[in-house]
Structures are given as structure tokens and as C-alpha cells.
Amino acid sequence: MTTPTLKIENLTLGFKTWSGTAKVLHGISLHIKKGERVALVGESGSGKSVTARIVLGMLQQLKSARITGSVEFEGVNLETLKPASRHALRGTRMSMIFQDPTSSLNPVYPIFTQFKEVLERAQPGITNEKARERAISALADVAINEPDRVLDSYAFQLSGGMNQRVMIAMALANNPALLLADEPGTALDVTVQAQTLKLMSALVEKHHTSVLFISHNLGVVREFADRVYVIYKGNIVEQGPTGQLFDDPKHPYTRALLSAVPRITGGGIPDLDDDPSGFTAPLATHDGYSERELLA
């Protein structure tokens, strides 16, 4: 069995506050195999974004964060790495796409300058000509027709959809093993969102990139992911293959979430069970899809 790209085991996170420790993650385990697209779904405050930040190694630097458990990236425990080696992984072996593309690009530099910076992470001393050539081919991959104009523009001169495609191109430029996508496209119009997801899907398939897809939008997850983990208040409550999980949700929380989504086929506004006591029920796993079985 090959080493999974990412393996998180029994990860807990707490923040030290004046009145003790506020627990955010209560021991979550998940893994992503090579080329797999895995979604982490949950509401705000459930702990999905902090998980991504721990994988990037950014929360470890925070003094008030208390982290236990292990995060293995391509078989290497991140904890054993020096900060400098962890830093070297970011932007090369693992990269991230954020929710709002326009605010994650720097408004005072043209796109090309930022693109070159990304390429320099993997290839220090790359020449302008070479960088431009690589940037143009990366932009062509995300269906941008006028790469030269885009490279010489500033982020605010481009539309949101265009910026998101630039971000995707940058994130995949160094051919990372793992892509962390935190609510990509949430800030975009539905038609643009559908397009960018399709593009991203095709690209990660082509490069066999593993993806951790973080989202609160169940519809988007259904369309993008191979496997799904549902997270509620810092606990994984259900995991399984996308199709099964959406057709036959087992955990009360997943059921409530799915029933709360308004349907385009109508049926009115759903009646919600106001009793969240079942939401803390133990992890529900679909047959053959527990951590133990998948990693065996």
C-alpha cells in the first residue's frame, strides 16, 4: 500500500485563553491518497479551516495554540521538521487556494510579479523569460485566452472569476502533491463557480494532485469530491464516498444538514428538527470507508 499524501491522526487543537483552554478540534483523523479529492464539510466554527492551517504548519507558530496528534505529509511527520523545512514545503509540495481570490492577490504588483514569486519558490533564480513562458502555459491550462494581458494586469483590473483562475494556475504551477482549497468559488457567481470547479477538477486529475476541499456548500462538494468527511464542532461525524453519503446519510447531523438545503425541484422550506442532541452521536462510517479499512 502506498503512503497517503496526507494522513492526520487524532488531531486536537485548543487555544489558550484567559479562562483556560478553548478546545476547537477533539481528535480528528483523516487521510488523502494520491490523486484523491477529499472534502471536509461543516458549518462555520466547526474547525475545517483550522485543520487546513495546521496542515500548512501555520498554526504551530501561534503561541496560544495547543496541538496534539500527528500530521503526516507524504509519510513525514510535520512535527519532526524544522520550521525552515516546513516553510520550504509551502508553495512547492503543498499549496492553497482561498475563498476570495481578489483579496488574496496583492493589489500593488501586477499578476506576473506574483506569478514569478510562486515559480521562484521551486526554482530560485528563474529568469524573467522562462517564468513568463511557464506562467503563460499555466494560464492556458485554466482557459485564459489572453495570458499576456492578464500577466500585465493588476488583480483589481480582472474579474473575480479571472482572479480565481489565476489563483488556481498559481497554486498548481509548481505541481504540488497536495492542494488545500478553502471554500474556492464561494465568492463567485454560480455560473463562474461551476466553470472554475470544472477547470480545477480537470487539472488536478491531469496532475494526480491530492485535494483537501473545504466547504460549507454541500452541492459543490457533491460535484467535486470523491470522498467526504463531515465535521461538526471539532469532531468528524460521518465519512464515506460522496455518492453514498449524499444518497444515504447515516449521521443525524448529516441528515439535518442535507434536509436543510433548499431544493431547486421545490418542496418548500424544510422543516427542521430543532433537537441537536443527536448531532453529537459517534462517528458514522459507510461500509469499507473507515480510516482503518482504507489505510489497511
Binding site: E43, S44, G160, D189, V190, T191, V192, Q193, A194, H216, N217, L218, G219, V220, R222, E223, F246, D247, A256, L257, L258, A260, V261, P262, R263, I264, T265, G266, G267, G268, I269, P270, D271, L272
Partner: protein, 270 residues
């Protein structure tokens, strides 16, 4: 049903860096009393522009609006400002963080002179109960409430003015899906029990499907399709409408089937 609002041939141009942008291009539609009319479209479609014109934040470049049979003036009197109320997307920025919930509601009553002064304190409590919050939340500050509770307060504030029309500008898109379902339920119940009239502005078509009576689809400043919700979703006439519905991410097989059917028709027509 009678007509509450008529929008007649409204156009709006903005000057941006010396260029003229046509934000709205002769748009006409009516809003009936007691209905929920959804205005949908993507960014740049003009849906917020029409909302701002209805609210009187700015006037139209041409065309006019009739409210209850009389023309709405460019500069609104207090009476019209009371009659047309707004609920915004982000309740955290639309509620004053330094004012208690009760004081925010009280202000709406004071400004519009609603009820006797001595009754107003009691009335704020009743308003909170009408939107499903305990009356003693009056003393709380917006920061101590959850997103869904804050949006309920924003709705209560719109109701405080004894409005005739509520413009809802993406009222649930900042909320989590469970909270969104509860707030939508509240809006629907209030509409049914009190005969409220909504202009519901959103980009979320699955929400529209379940709350609106009629839907107006905007594309680049033009009204491209207007019809009963059911008809729009089962048999959209306009290509853009069909494309919008086809792009909605869905969670069930039935929805996926509907989408596929609509997209097939599109390729058939093309």
C-alpha cells in the same frame, strides 16, 4: 390582488471614469400586495441597483415608480421611508454594535413615531417574540448574538416600522445552511400570517424556488424573464435563465435530473 409597486421603464446610468455604464435598461415589472417577488441575477446584473432605486437611495435616470397608485418622488418623504423597509445581507454591519438590540428596535419606533411613547419599550419585546427571540434579548448587544439571531433582529426592525414592502437583499447568504433554513421559515411564516410583501434579491436559485411566488431574472441590466416560480423552474424560456439553473450545485438525484433535462433542452435549441 392589488398592485403595491409598479416599476415603469426604469433605466439607470452611472458615470465611471468618464465612461457611461448602463446599470439598468428600461426595466418594468409590478409587485402585488402579499407576494414574494424574487429578483435574481449574477453580479453586475443590476439587481442591487433596482433595489436601491426602490428604496430611494438614488433616483432612476429615466422611468418612474408608482407606489399604491402614486408616483414615488426622487426625494422620499418620511412616510415612504417608513413604508419601504430593508433587510441587508450582513446583520453584523447593519446593526449598530454600540447599541443594545432593544435600543436599535426602539429607534425604528421613535423615528417613525409608532405607538404611544410609553408603550414602545414593551413593543420592542413583542417584536423580538414575533421573530422567535426571547423578549429579554432587548438588553443584549449585537455581538453577543449568533448570525441567525442578528438577522432575526434585522427583520424585527423592518417590521417595527409597520412597513408595506420589505426589500430583502441577500438576507440568508451569510448564514450557515441550518440557520438559513430557520430564517427562511420565519420569513415565510411572517408573510403568510401577516400578508407581507417581499422583494427578495438573491443569487441563490434554490432559495428562490422555495420562497418566491414569482421570479424576475436580470442579465446585464435587462429583465430577461419574469414569471411564476414553478413555470420558471420547470420550463425556463430564456437561455440565460436555463444556464443559471443549470449551474446551481445540487445535493440530490432528483435535482440533478431536472438540471440535466434543462441543459439538454439548451443544447437542443442551440
Amino acid at each position: 390582488m392589488s398592485r403595491l409597486l409598479c416599476v415603469n421603464n426604469v433605466s439607470k446610468q452611472f458615470e465611471v471614469n468618464g465612461r457611461t455604464v448602463q446599470a439598468l435598461d428600461s426595466v418594468s415589472f409590478d409587485v402585488e400586495k402579499g407576494e414574494c417577488l424574487a429578483i435574481v441575477g449574477e453580479s453586475g446584473s443590476g439587481k442591487s441597483t433596482i433595489a436601491n432605486i426602490i428604496l430611494g437611495i438614488y433616483g432612476a435616470s429615466s422611468g418612474n415608480l408608482m407606489f399604491n397608485g402614486t408616483e414615488l418622488p426622487a426625494k422620499r418623504s418620511k412616510e415612504y421611508r417608513r413604508a419601504i423597509q430593508l433587510v441587508q445581507q450582513n446583520p453584523l454591519s447593519s446593526l449598530n454594535p454600540r447599541r443594545s438590540i432593544g435600543a436599535s428596535l426602539r429607534l425604528a419606533l421613535d423615528v417613525h413615531g409608532i405607538g404611544a411613547k410609553s408603550d414602545r419599550a414593551k413593543r420592542t419585546g413583542e417584536l423580538l417574540e414575533e421573530v422567535g427571540l426571547p423578549a429579554d434579548y432587548r438588553t443584549r448587544s449585537p455581538s453577543s448574538l449568533s448570525g441567525g439571531q442578528r438577522q432575526r433582529v434585522a427583520i424585527a426592525r423592518a417590521l417595527a416600522a409597520r412597513q408595506e414592502l420589505v426589500v430583502l437583499d441577500e438576507p440568508t447568504s451569510a448564514l450557515d445552511v441550518l440557520v438559513q433554513a430557520r430564517v427562511l421559515k420565519l420569513l415565510k411564516e411572517l408573510k403568510d400570517s401577516r400578508g407581507l410583501t417581499y422583494v427578495f434579491i438573491t443569487h441563490d436559485l434554490s432559495v428562490v424556488r422555495n420562497i418566491a411566488d414569482r421570479v424576475a431574472v436580470f442579465e446585464r441590466g435587462k429583465l430577461v424573464e419574469l414569471g411564476q416560480t414553478n413555470a420558471i423552474f420547470t420550463n425556463p424560456q430564456n437561455l440565460y435563465t436555463r444556464r443559471l439553473i443549470g449551474a446551481v450545485p445540487v445535493v440530490s438525484r432528483e435535482e440533478a435530473a431536472l438540471r440535466d433535462r434543462l441543459m439538454e433542452q439548451e443544447s437542443g435549441n442551440a
